[in-house]
């Protein structure tokens, strides 16, 4: 799994596989700082997007691959992201011929206490 330049910019790495999708790790640091002491909501959205794409790409590769284009991204913020690493994972809820529905969740110390979640809809162009 090769992450795009934006993921490298923020220092994201693929940590492990869990529940059939990669877990992405976003380290805390000045490049992701929002208001003092908190991770910027835009960086959290970026992690959720990368986790969603990683999960979708993996599912799509199993069916012969294809290109994906974002249609909508909706992010809910449940808790502030503090000065520590954040993890994210995507779940493909439906992989259709032309549309994929994906969910992604981000957490810090406890996956059962998410800091943010997103629903993402993608257009798929199969070869």
């Amino acid at each position: 799994m090769i992450l795009p330049p934006y993921a490298d910019l923020l220092g994201m790495t693929v940590e492990e596989q869990a529940d059939g999708a990669p877990v992405l790790l976003l380290p805390f640091g000045e490049p992701v700082l929002g208001r003092p002491g908190f991770v910027h909501g835009g960086a959290i959205a970026g992690l959720l997007e990368m986790a969603a794409i990683a999960a979708l790409d993996q599912a799509l590769q199993a069916e012969g691959g294809g290109r994906i284009k974002p249609i909508t991204v909706t992010v809910d913020y449940m808790r502030g992201g503090r000065e520590r690493p954040t993890r994210g994972i995507g779940t493909v809820t439906r992989l259709g011929t032309r549309i994929a529905n994906v969910e992604a969740v981000a957490w810090q110390e406890d996956r059962a206490r998410p800091i943010a979640a997103a629903r993402l809809n993608y257009l798929i162009e199969r070869p």
Partner: protein, 146 residues
């Protein structure tokens, strides 16, 4: 006349995540604030096309709509993003600066309702449309959320 002037909010250019992405002040009017996100190869989300990732667009719109809230309130006060939805109307053009125009269209006691567009040169031909809400951290919430 408000006490908060987005054009003089210099913390924007050098601080944290927005500073790392190169986001800076662009323009303002009565009802909106605009910030600019210069194109950068290291913010690409799809190397095959050179199109920017969503993250920088979300950050741009979160910050532009935040500035609109502070401008409308006339004060820089902490708030937290409750939700933000982005509709991608067409792909951004690689190499071109993205302008984010944020508007606070309703300011309630505890919640600010915002919307905005992202575009390159023509606001009537937007790349993305956003809608979101912020919780005002200094508000004294009683009863209903808004």
């Amino acid at each position: 006349m408000t006490a908060f002037d987005p054009a003089r909010f210099t913390r924007l250019d050098h601080y944290g995540h927005g500073g790392r992405l190169g986001i800076h002040y662009h323009a303002k009017a009565d009802r909106w604030v605009e910030l600019a996100l210069p194109y950068a190869a290291d913010q690409v989300g799809d190397p095959a096309t050179g199109i920017l990732a969503s993250g920088p667009i979300v950050t741009l719109m979160d910050m532009a709509t935040s500035m609109a809230v502070w401008t409308r309130r006339g004060v820089f006060a902490p708030h937290a993003t409750l939700d933000l939805r982005v509709d991608y109307l067409r792909p951004a053009t690689p190499g071109e600066t993205v302008i984010g125009r944020g508007e606070c269209y309703r300011l309630a006691r505890s919640v600010a309702f915002v919307r905005g567009i992202a575009y390159h040169t023509d606001p009537d031909d937007p790349i993305a449309h956003v809608a979101g809400t912020f919780m005002l951290m200094d508000a004294t919430a009683k009863g209903a959320a808004a």
